[in-house]
């Protein structure tokens, strides 16, 4: 069994390597990618069914580091079993879907290999019982996300989005690294158990708080909490399976898992949890609002991911110590299924239509029955409609938060609870809006004109951001460029290709999981715990939100978001200038870098150069002074003797 845990991590990594080596033969690459994913699912099932409850599985052996113990152990328990299974399932469906989606892409093999590696990174985070290993998996995911988002490297927007994604998360990872170091220094060990068992001493433990807050910041980067949230919508420049992978079960959600693992420490540290609560609350509401205004289906889903991940983190921030991290992980699982479903569905739709802009997709789902149903299940689950998995997991999270709030969690928990309910309503609203748009076939002439108007505005906004970017880009420094993903960008993949059976099956599998996935969670203690009151209230909010969206859209005849003020909406589409703010930071750093280069050349290096010049000048002067005049030589002799005599007599002793 121990080998199962190791293999779960090792196999995808090897598959990634093999995929790279098999670059020239796509068939082999496909086989390796899908095959390994299947095997990993099988292994994960084994772990799920029979978790070992151990955290002492050797991976590559302990690092010999003197007084720091770094055993690099892996673990296996119920929690890791569930998450590993979910991850592997999602990865499998994505691999299968990708075979179809990127069938004409010359870089398919690299893509599939990267997905495998990505999965390995996530599974390493899941199975890791060591902070160092967690960091490894964490960063590997970041790197793979760069590769995946930038897959279409011919396009400027893709290159930029990848750059932005990696940089933003990397900046947050500064805190992550510092946090992990702070935690392991406390325990003199990077081992998770050691770190957890060094309980805070009486009173406050500054080092612990610092470490935990730093980890929160690191998580905020990858999970896209405000203010790091803006990379994720841009990351939609990657192919849709990549988006599904990043959003559904891996990178974005990994933060939840990491904090869940460290939950025993967080439970004792109010300060760190308050930070988390505030960040999560702000993010879930704010991004849900932004999601409502989006004009692009993928960006809408991206913002919804931000919102949903914030729900998980909110649950972690608010849940009482005895409830633990399970509700958050539970929502992680639910979200993984329905979000993967939604992304693959969106990808399917986009492949058929050749666009992801909502305008272009309008009503396109209506005449494709299977796809329509899949999208309906996904959106409903996202909105939290029972009995889909989204309802259960979200309400488990809400219930945990409410319990925390009523159980002495104080302001921190109440903030989360309020935000959760608001988000519930907003989620329902944007889901309804999206569904209405996808499902309402014939826009009225009036709405067309308004849509045109609207899209003009958006274009306008986009152009504005663009021009800002190009000016920053002109100087050859690709740090600052930014362009908001243009609405209605045409994907370069799979135009009007008939979907293959396997690909559609993968979508259906996800739909099935969305429908019945709750059953999986029953095995995890406390994973499904729906409070009657909270469920009722949240259902009311769902209904209200859905109704509001429906009424705003004039019964689906027009886009609900058009009712927003045009200006506001244009700004919302471009994320209220978050990108510009990032760019400002970037250009600030670039300016600093230029300063450094100037200093390097004109200050630091000035001394050696000045020395050289001085030496040369002195030599020149000396050559000029030195003439073969005997008298001057005599003068030198006499002066020298006088000086030497004076020095000799006075300074002798």
């Amino acid at each position: 069994m121990i080998w199962v845990v190791r293999l779960v991590v090792l196999l995808p990594a090897l598959a990634g390597l093999a995929g790279l080596l098999a670059r020239r033969t796509p068939l082999v690459a496909r086989g390796v990618a899908v095959g390994s994913a299947v095997v990993v699912v099988a292994l994960a099932v084994a772990l799920f069914v029979a978790p070992m409850d151990t955290a002492d599985i050797d991976s590559v052996g302990a690092l010999p580091l003197g007084n720091l113990s770094a055993p690099l152990h892996l673990l296996s328990d119920q929690l890791s079993g569930v998450v590993a299974l979910v991850v592997s399932l999602v990865v499998l469906t994505i691999q299968v879907f990708t075979v179809w989606y990127l069938r004409d892409d010359p870089r398919y093999t690299q893509f599939a290999a990267t997905v495998s590696l990505f999965a390995a990174g996530m599974l390493l985070v899941v199975a890791s019982a060591d902070l160092a290993l967690t960091l490894v998996g964490w960063e590997v995911m970041g790197w793979c996300s760069w590769l995946l988002i930038g897959h279409d490297s011919e396009r400027f927007a893709a290159r930029r989005a990848a750059y932005k994604a990696f940089l933003v998360t990397c900046v947050a990872d500064i805190a992550m690294v510092v946090g992990f170091i702070a935690l392991s220094v406390r325990a003199r060990s990077t081992d998770l158990l050691d770190v957890l068992t060094v309980h805070p001493s009486a009173g406050t433990d500054a080092l612990l708080t610092l470490g935990l807050v730093c980890v929160v910041i690191g998580v905020a980067g990858k999970s896209g909490l405000v203010p790091f949230h803006d990379w994720l919508p841009d990351a939609m420049e990657g192919p849709t399976p990549a988006s599904a992978l990043i959003h559904a079960a891996t990178m974005v959600a990994a933060g939840t898992y990491v904090i869940a693992r460290l939950f025993p420490l967080y439970a004792f540290d109010d300060a760190a949890r308050t930070v988390l609560a505030v960040l999560a609350a702000v993010t879930m509401v704010y991004t849900a609002l932004l999601a409502f205004a989006q004009t692009d289906l993928k960006r809408l889903l991206a913002y919804s991911t931000l919102s949903q991940v914030a729900i998980m983190l909110g649950a972690l921030a608010a849940a009482p110590a005895d409830v633990g991290p399970v509700p958050a992980v539970s929502h992680l699982v639910g979200h993984a299924f329905f979000k993967a479903l939604l992304f693959l569905g969106a990808g399917w739709l986009a492949a058929l239509v050749g666009a992801t802009a909502l305008d272009a997709l309008r009503g396109r789902a209506r005449d494709r029955r299977a796809l329509r149903r899949a999208m309906a299940i996904g959106l409903a689950s996202l909105a939290g409609v029972p009995p889909l998995i989204g309802f259960f997991t979200k309400d488990t999270a809400i219930d945990a938060a409410v319990e925390g709030a009523t159980g002495g969690g104080g302001l921190r928990a109440w903030i989360v609870v309020v935000a959760l309910f608001a988000t519930t309503a907003l989620t329902a609203a944007y889901c309804t809006r999206a569904w209405l748009l996808l499902d309402t076939p014939c826009p009225t002439p009036a709405s067309t004109s308004s849509a045109a108007n609207d899209s003009f505005e958006v274009e306008h906004g986009g152009t504005r951001a663009r021009s800002l970017t190009t000016s920053a880009f002109d100087d050859g420094m690709p740090l600052t460029p930014l362009a908001v993903g243009e609405p209605g960008v045409l994907t370069t993949h799979g135009e009007h290709k008939p979907i293959t059976l396997t690909a559609s099956l993968s979508v259906f599998a996800l739909a099935a999981l969305t429908l019945f996935g709750t059953l999986l969670l029953l095995g995890l203690d406390g994973a499904v715990h729906v409070g009657v009151v909270s469920a009722t209230v949240s259902l009311l909010f769902v209904a209200a939100g859905a109704f509001a969206a429906w009424s705003m859209s004039e019964r689906g005849l027009r886009d609900a978001a058009e009712r927003l003020p045009t200006r506001l909406r244009a700004d919302a589409v471009i994320g209220f200038g978050a990108d510009t703010a990032y760019a400002r930071v970037g250009s600030g750093v670039t300016a600093l870098a230029r300063l450094v280069v100037v200093l390097d050349r004109d200050v630091v290096d000035a001394y050696p150069r000045a020395t050289a010049v001085t030496a040369r000048q002195l030599g020149r002067i000396g050559v000029r002074l030195h003439r073969a005049v005997p008298a001057s030589a005599l003068l030198g002799v006499v002066v020298g003797i006088v000086v030497v005599a004076v020095l000799g007599v006075t300074v002798w002793q």
Binding site: A615, R616, L618, G619, R620, G622, V623, R624, H626, A628, P630, S632, A633, L634, G636, V637, V638, V639, G640, I641, V643, V644, A645, L647, G648, V649, V651, W652, Q653
Partner: protein
């Protein structure tokens, strides 16, 4: 009977050059038309001198080969001399002195080989016309005699232990060289000789003043620790402090007086002029044997005062720092290799006296060791220059003449590279590096931090200097001309002139002796680079 005990065996290193002088004169008298004969005799004499100094080198530390010993009980009783005179010798060659003698003799051999003339018949054939009857008769024997005389002076200097011998030997080592410089007969050499002359005269006068002060301070004509230790009983000084000051004054006068011979700044001005004016072999002699003589003289004096402990010699430190810096800075601007070597002599002189800031056995030994490394490397460099000049004429004296030497004459370039890296103190010239270590050791031990920092900076400057020469050596000839380093204005004309002077035809001049000189010196350099102990062991 107690009396002046003379051990002739100890004197052979000095006697052989003197005998050589006589032999040269006799040979010249007998066969005036054999141009090479005087040199052959001189080489043999110097060689024997070297050979006979070997036993002195190999003796164990502490002992010395002495001659002209006096002071045995009873000898002075008949005279008015005070009875308390300690037994002493006028000639004491310990291993350090013998090492310097050996080095001087060997260096003289190399110099003689470099000066090796062309056979008369060949010369006539080459010139295509009979040489003027007047010329050629006198120069070779004169040169040989003068070189041997200077060598004899140097050898005696190293072993001398009293003021009289010391002064005479110093003059014997100096005056012939002045004549040798002038002997080249060109305007440049006369200028050099004049400058050398006046500098040496004034310096010598002041040095005599210093010697007189020594006598005044100690009341003893012997340059030995006992005399220095007895300075408190000086006839003129009123108190011990005044006596110490007088002694110090005498020491610095002597240091300054010998500074000219060592080319220390500010007594250095003659160096470039004389080097460039003299023939290459004489310049080599100036750079090597003369320096050994100067240092030997200095060490005789300093070892006498070493008994006073290890006082801080600020004066020497200043001279050393100045010499290094000025020498290197000036060498950095030279495009004429002889001038470059001249200024490098100045810089290296700074390194030579650097360890003397600590007047201890450590310091004197280090100084001598550094000098020897310098001498060996310089000999090789001069030999390469001589060979190159014979091959390619005047252009061999400028840096551009060495472009692509690596490709043309790999071995010669290798020897030059080894010499230059030794001078710069970089491997593969390990001996130069070891020399640097040796020279810095006493300074560090004395805690002269500012001086070590200046030395470090000068190590860098020195590397820059010698790399300027090494660079054309390793540069490929095929490189475009404009890529060559831009010539500075000061020396540009000289280079242009040098280029114009280089005759297109490669002159087939016999150069066996020069090659032999190069081989000998390079072999020594190589061997001591591999096992520096061979050189340092000389100075146990």
């Amino acid at each position: 009977m107690n009396g002046l005990v003379i051990d002739v065996a100890a004197l052979w290193p000095a006697l052989f050059p003197l005998l050589g002088i006589v032999a040269v004169l006799v040979v010249d008298l007998v066969t005036p038309r054999l141009r090479q004969a005087p040199y052959a005799v001189a080489v043999v004499a110097a060689g024997f001198g070297a050979w006979t100094s070997l036993p002195g080198v190999l003796q164990e530390a502490g002992s010395s080969r002495s001659s002209f010993c006096v002071g045995q009980q009873g000898w002075f009783s008949s005279t008015s001399a005070p009875p308390h005179i300690a037994p002493t010798c006028f000639w004491q060659a310990d291993s350090l002195a013998s090492g310097l003698q050996l080095a001087a003799s060997l260096a003289a051999v190399v110099c003689l080989l470099l000066a090796w003339p062309i056979a008369r018949s060949r010369a006539d054939a080459a010139s295509g016309a009979p040489a003027p009857a007047r010329s050629g008769h006198t120069r070779e024997p004169v040169e040989a005699v003068l070189l041997l005389a200077a060598l004899a002076g140097t050898v005696v200097l190293a072993a001398s232990r009293d003021v009289g011998t010391w002064l005479v030997a110093l003059e014997l080592a100096t005056l012939p060289v002045i004549v040798l410089v002038a002997l080249a007969g060109r305007r440049r050499s006369i200028v050099g000789a004049v400058q050398l002359l006046v500098t040496s005269l004034v310096s010598f006068a002041l040095l005599v003043l210093g010697a007189a002060l020594w006598f005044a301070a100690t009341g003893s004509p012997f340059l030995d620790p006992e005399a220095a230790g007895g300075a408190a009983g000086s006839p003129v000084a009123l108190d011990s402090a005044g006596s110490a000051a007088l002694l110090a004054l005498s020491v610095v006068f002597v240091v300054a007086g010998i500074g000219f011979k060592l080319s220390l700044v500010p007594f250095h001005a003659w160096t470039p002029t004389a080097y460039s004016g003299a023939t290459l072999s004489v310049a080599t002699f100036l750079a090597t044997v003369s320096k050994i003589g100067a240092l030997a003289a200095l060490l005789v004096f300093l070892r006498a005062v070493a008994v006073l402990g290890t006082p801080g010699f600020v004066a020497i430190a200043v001279l050393s720092a100045l010499s290094m810096t000025v020498g290197n800075l000036m060498a950095l601007r030279q495009n004429d290799v002889v001038l470059l070597l001249a200024w490098s002599t100045v810089a290296q002189a700074g390194w030579v006296v650097l360890p003397l800031v600590s007047v201890s056995a450590l310091g004197t030994g280090a100084s001598a060791a550094y000098l020897l490394t310098y001498v060996v490397a310089t000999l090789v460099a001069f030999a390469v220059v001589a060979l190159t000049v014979r091959d390619s004429g005047a252009v061999g004296r400028s840096l551009v003449g060495y472009e692509g030497l690596w490709r043309r004459h790999a071995w010669r370039a290798g020897a030059l590279g080894l010499a230059l890296t030794s001078l710069a103190g970089l491997p593969p010239g390990v001996i130069g590096l070891v020399g640097k270590i040796v020279a810095l050791r006493p300074v560090v031990a004395q805690g002269w931090v500012w001086l070590t920092v200046i030395a470090a900076a000068n190590a860098v400057l020195g590397v820059a200097v010698y790399l300027r020469w090494l660079r054309p050596v390793v540069t490929s000839v095929a490189e475009p001309a404009e890529a060559a380093e831009p010539v500075n204005e000061a020396a540009g004309s000289a280079v242009v002139a040098g280029r114009a002077l280089s005759s297109p035809r490669v002159r087939q001049v016999r150069r066996g002796a020069v090659v032999a000189a190069l081989v000998i010196s390079a072999a020594v350099l190589l061997v001591v680079s591999v096992q520096p102990d061979l050189l340092l062991g000389v100075l146990r």
